[in-house]
């Protein structure tokens, strides 16, 4: 592993490279590298600085506002926050998951599948396919969805329409594409009409076909350069996620499962309401982001990855046939029990997108989806925990309320926090194996971004004005003199400034 590159010795003798945001508000990633006299990387760190203030944003508000309020934390996965909050406040009104009305449970699952499908489509087709189709160090003018639309019009258009379809699922259930109010404490506030169901059924077969095609595409891309794809930014890690009672892939509700890098089970079917007994968060002096770890393995060895790769690695099977066949192929491409390739996140992501499309069809044909018994009631409680598998990984919402139903304490663990250590490790791997000794160039910048982007970290919570990955590289010699400077502005323009 590359933890030895987290903190270098004799730092005063090293040159510093800072990959820093130049944007105007919070929500950035920053990478710092320290180089020795031969430009060998001696220290590499990823800093993510956007998550301060989430809990403060929630505290002091009445609990019933939360499903709507927390959607504004993230412009990309508002539905995931919406549903995690709804699951937590179900408990505040005394409704456990097994007591949620069947139709409400299925509507929430349908909403969630729509969300994951649109988010995965955005991530793969818009953010990552330019790198994967044209090459990590290709001409920057080519690395955009527009270029994909130009050279691979069918693939580009399918990406746009897959995303649009997921948004339509969300709109039909919650009334709006964003800021919708589908889930409430104890259930859902609106039934799906037959007309809405039929509208969504019109295109679902096409969506499944395109999703299947996207899995074939990523498999082809990955396997066409297997040694490189299996090595780039790759690290060995533990994996965490929700799981069905019988070990199947689960995105909405289940127990917690964690596996070691060799596939050995660390914990299984753990009630997520007890997450505090199993997961702790470490604070390090050089970053605002916490480092979660599994208590049983300790701070040094207990860090883990979440998200598509973790979920597909952790599950025993997927309960939809096309996605299950894709999972079996995915696992077979490696001789190892667990797949550790960081770029395999993309492959796993598209297997999940296919699973979402198949599950949407299944739910749309389920008579319960049109049911009107949508809300359950129970006795008030003072604490609630909601956990869901958001597109980027396991998302924890934990609230405490007072006798007036005001939130007095909130704790959120978002998936980007869970992947914090892993992203740092991947950045260090790329720095050590691919950048060390090279001249400072824009492709160098992009190699770092490709590694970070595989995790799809939510750097964008939550204004449209941020969420870009504006970067600044400065090479400073041992005396502190600026040797070289490269700025990638938030509009994507690259500018070289003389030192």
């Amino acid at each position: 592993m590359y933890e030895h590159l987290e903190t270098a010795e004799n730092r005063e003798n090293l040159k510093r490279v800072v990959v820093d945001p130049v944007s105007r508000v919070e929500g950035h990633g920053k990478v710092t590298l320290l180089l020795d006299e031969n430009n060998k990387v001696r220290q590499a760190r990823l800093h993510i600085v956007e998550f301060r203030g989430f809990e403060r944003f929630i505290q002091g508000r009445p609990y019933w506002e939360l499903p709507v309020l927390v959607q504004r934390l993230c412009g990309i996965c508002p539905v995931s926050h919406h549903l995690a909050a709804a699951k937590a406040i179900d408990q505040l009104v005394g409704v456990d998951p097994e007591n949620l009305p069947v139709s409400a449970d299925k509507l929430r699952r349908l909403l969630h599948f729509g969300q994951v499908l649109q988010s995965h489509a955005l991530h793969f087709f818009h953010l990552s396919s330019p790198d994967l189709l044209f090459g990590f160090e290709s001409d920057i003018a080519k690395r955009s969805i527009i270029a994909v639309l130009g050279e691979y019009p069918d693939i580009g258009l399918q990406g746009v329409k897959l995303r649009k379809y997921g948004q339509e699922v969300i709109r039909m259930i919650s009334g709006k594409r964003v800021h919708g109010t589908g889930a409430i404490a104890g259930g859902m506030n609106k039934a799906l009409t037959k007309a809405e169901r039929d509208y969504l059924l019109e295109d679902i077969d096409q969506i499944i076909t395109w999703s299947e095609g996207s899995v074939a595409l990523i498999k082809k891309v990955h396997c066409s350069n297997l040694p490189y794809y299996d090595d780039f930014a790759t690290i060995r890690s533990n994996y965490l996620g929700l799981i069905k009672p019988d070990g199947g892939l689960e995105l909405y509700h289940g127990g917690l499962r964690a596996k070691k890098d060799n596939g050995e089970i660390i914990m299984d079917h753990i009630d997520y309401c007890q997450y505090n007994d199993y997961i702790h968060e470490e604070v390090r002096s050089w970053t605002y982001m916490k480092f979660p770890y599994l208590l049983s393995l300790g701070q040094e060895n207990g860090w883990y990855r979440v998200g598509p790769l973790a979920r597909v690695n952790n599950c025993d099977y997927i309960d939809t046939p096309l996605a299950e066949a894709a999972r079996v192929e995915f696992k077979a491409h490696s001789e190892e029990t667990m797949i550790h390739s960081t770029l395999a996140f993309h492959w796993a992501r598209l297997i999940e997108a296919l699973h979402c499309a198949e599950s949407i069809k299944e739910l749309l044909h389920d008579p319960d989806i049109l049911g009107h018994d949508l809300v359950a009631q129970g006795d008030k409680r003072y604490e609630g925990v909601g956990v869901i598998e958001a597109p980027r990984g396991t998302l924890f919402h934990h609230y405490q309320v007072d006798e007036n139903d005001i939130v007095t304490k909130a704790n959120l663990i978002v998936s980007t926090t869970s992947n914090n250590m892993a992203m740092n490790e991947s950045v260090r791997q790329v720095a050590a194996e691919y950048l060390s000794g090279r001249e400072l160039t824009e492709p160098l910048l992009n190699n770092l971004e490709v590694a970070i982007r595989a995790y799809d970290p939510c750097l964008s919570c939550a204004t449209h004005a941020v969420g870009k990955m504006p970067l600044q590289l400065e090479l400073i010699d041992a005396e502190g003199k600026l040797v070289d400077k490269l700025v990638k502005h938030s509009d994507g323009q690259i500018e070289r400034l003389d030192g």
């Binding site: 105007r24 508000v25 919070e26 203030g53 989430f54 403060r56 944003f57 309020l69 504004r72 934390l73 412009g75 990309i76 508002p78 955005l122 087709f125 818009h126 953010l127 330019p130 790198d131 920057i140 003018a141 690395r143 955009s144 969805i145 527009i146 639309l149 130009g150 019009p153 580009g156 258009l157 990406g159 746009v160 329409k161 995303r163 649009k164 948004q167 594409r177 964003v178 800021h179 971004e449 982007r453 750097l459 964008s460 939550a462 204004t463 449209h464 004005a465 941020v466 969420g467 870009k468 990955m469 938030s490 509009d491 994507g492 323009q493």
Partner: protein, 161 residues
């Protein structure tokens, strides 16, 4: 049936002045002709919004901006290739470019109303200056919608240069 005029405001209601676009539409919602004008809001622009431009006669994007010279700017949009490929959000010009790539035709006349904002912190309300800018922008947009015609809007945009 697609309505001929689209008003698309984007921004996050819980991020201070980032809310300016959706808030302007909230204020105007009851005053516009619902048979002719569709109102959409979202956190940020993305590729699929290109499909919302289909079969429109006139489109107005409304956004918060830190770079307005005055309280607001109003300009005609042209398709432009977004150079950023790492973003979760797109510029309106890039959305037009996506439309052009998908549809193989020129997008409908699209305009951008940028309202000056200053503070974008999570949990903040509108800043005092942004409230004033919003009031001015509301009056301007109300007048604009009295003449939903691309030639008139082009003249208006030129006059503000």
């Amino acid at each position: 049936m697609v309505k001929p005029v689209l008003l698309f405001g984007y921004g996050n209601l819980s991020r201070g002045d980032d809310a300016l676009g959706p808030l302007l539409l909230e204020f105007l919602e009851d005053t516009v002709n619902p048979d002719k004008i569709e109102i959409l809001t979202d956190f940020q622009l993305q590729i699929e919004h290109a499909l919302d431009l289909e079969n429109r006669e006139l489109v107005l994007f409304i956004d918060a901006s830190v770079s307005c010279a005055g309280a607001f700017d109003f300009a005609l949009l042209e398709p432009a290739r977004d150079k950023s490929y790492t973003t979760h959000a797109m510029s309106p010009a890039a959305v037009l470019d996506v439309y052009q790539s998908i549809k193989k035709q020129t997008p409908p006349p699209c305009f951008l109303l940028s309202i000056k904002g200053e503070k974008f912190e999570l949990g903040e309300g509108l800043s005092a200056n942004a409230q004033q800018h919003l009031a001015q922008a509301c009056r301007f947009t109300g007048n604009l919608l009295n003449t939903p015609d691309s030639s008139a809007w082009r003249r208006q945009a030129k006059s503000l240069l």
